[in-house]
Subunit: 340 residues, 2 copies
């Protein structure tokens, strides 16, 4: 094997020569862009088979200014949520012949811009930006290079001039509080996400809206902000709440990691869940179903969100839709398990 010369790529010319036709004819057979006699077509097909020809997509992209590549830009690979979204995107884009390139930004502003530039350089047809609202400057880069973009996640809102898909997080928390609040007598508290995270205030607002529906005065609302979206932070925040004078009966956490940490804090204090303290999360990660007790949480349908983004993008790229920006809002679903 070693030392074997790398075979030159088989090109259109090779096929044309082999079949005794012109490049143009080979191209036509490939793309069906104009009529070709049955005999010729068969001859070309045979040559393609025999030579093992595969069209060079790079050359196609250069020529046609279309690469059939879509970029997915996420803050992180390793949070369970994003791979599901990426999967949803792939599911709809791949059958249409699109390649999906994945980029992560770490949620860092500078990296976001850098990624936008890299994507632009690659002649990408479209981009789906997840997680953070698309920044104006980055949107400009995409626009400048003719890259269709869709923003998923907690988007810039309904004023954006590109399509967006977001999950109704505020409604989810409000609904959760109203659904479960009736079942428990006593204080309802919230462990909020870390300050600086876009999602934190939205979820907290939902929580407050839910309480307001009960007529709870603002002064009676108890919220502890976590220092991170993590198990440890949830445990710590819950510890503070549980050791305070006003122990909650129901604890609505901004996400599952926080909630599972909160249940650990309860356990350490000999409190039963949900007997003494009911706990809820958000995200429905796999660990939620395996928690002790299994966690009542909210399913955000990440995969479906991915699919929705991809569909909007596809319609734009294919020219099937060319109207004003669309803003899709996806509903969630409460998964009732045993923790509340």
């Amino acid at each position: 094997m070693a030392g074997e010369a790398v075979k030159r790529r088989v090109t259109v010319d090779d096929v044309a020569a082999h079949a005794g036709v012109s490049q143009a004819t080979v191209s036509q057979v490939l793309n069906g862009s104009r009529p070709v006699s049955e005999a010729t077509r068969a001859r070309v097909q045979a040559s393609i088979q025999e030579l093992g020809y595969r069209p060079n997509q790079i050359a196609r992209a250069l020529r046609g200014q279309k690469s059939r590549t879509v970029a997915i830009i996420v803050p992180s690979f390793v949070q369970e949520f994003y791979p599901w979204m990426a999967l949803g995107v792939s599911e709809v884009l791949r059958p249409e012949g699109y390649q999906v390139a994945l980029y992560y930004t770490d949620g860092v502003r500078a990296t976001e811009t850098q990624v936008a530039r890299v994507v632009a350089e690659r002649v990408t047809d479209g981009a789906i930006v997840f997680g953070s609202p698309l920044h104006k400057a980055d949107a400009r880069i995409f626009a400048e290079f003719g890259i269709t973009v869709v923003n998923g996640g907690l988007s810039a809102g309904d004023a954006a001039d590109y399509d967006t898909v977001r999950v109704a997080q505020e409604e989810a928390f409000s609904g959760l509080v109203q659904l479960l609040g009736e079942r428990y007598d006593g204080l309802i508290a919230h462990i909020a996400g870390p300050p600086g995270h876009d999602t934190a205030p939205v979820r907290e607002a939902g929580f407050r809206a839910g309480l307001a529906a009960f007529g709870t005065p603002e002064a009676d609302v108890v919220v502890a902000a976590a220092t991170a979206y993590s198990w440890e932070a949830g445990r710590a925040a819950a510890a503070g709440l549980l050791d305070s004078g006003r122990r909650p009966r129901l604890l609505v956490c901004a996400n599952d990691l926080l909630a599972i940490g909160a249940m650990a804090a309860a356990r350490e204090r000999g409190l039963r869940v949900p007997g003494d303290l009911a706990v809820t999360g958000y995200d429905n990660i796999v660990a939620a179903g395996m928690a002790v007790p299994p966690l009542t949480t909210v399913e955000p349908f990440a995969e479906e969100q991915g699919r929705a983004c991809a569909r909007l993008l596809l319609e734009r790229m294919s020219g099937g839709y060319d109207g004003p920006p669309r803003h899709l809002v996806l509903s969630t679903e409460v998964i009732e398990r045993e923790s509340a």
Copy 2:
């Protein structure tokens, strides 16, 4: 915004004209491929800035037959393990200017080949195939198109004619059994992965090797095969074991999901972990640290495996290494928590 004409891309020609030099000079300033006078360089740089020029990577790829794109091919996006690998790969490749495109195969043979073809068409410089051993036919496709390939995960072994990186899973299980087996008096059992999964027999072999080190006769080895790598399957398999006449004292599970399920089965029977039954896993997923009790498991360093693959690939692609295939074996580490 709507209806605004898409601006034509800024090209080398535009920059050259603007700076009053030739294309060649612009190219040189960009790539440093030959000396340029300081004055000219400054002028060109200024034009690049002013026009907002960004080189078209597609054109570069066509010209140079190098795309600075690497494909990562994984069986699935959504198993925790693979995103970490992908992250490791990105960490080393991105600073070198490589784009990472992610593909998933579902572990389906036909899809694997299809992905290999798609990757080949895109003029990809390198591919990292994770999870399944690289199939001969696919390896041929890559070779034919001059795509450097590295196989990660449970690879085809040390006979492959491409670089491989694998985790010493067998040794991990053998070591785990020997480390913990001494602490517990009584039966040591194994919940094996589902038949048909490449990793299952390897892990089971490790388990048996560990027992053999104690001199346990083959007849006394108890192994239950799970029907899937899942919580439910672990719970079911453990239930069978626990309700049988010979209840184990230590239960070594083929992965964390299985182990957490097994702990649930123990809990349902009023058994304390590790007091009555010690349990171990493999993978060190986030849920393992949050389990009740926290799961003793094996850390496979997925991210590091990704980095290792990327480094090998990079050396080959850059021409830094051109020798015979290298086969890297990465060690694991036991994470001792409370379940054993």
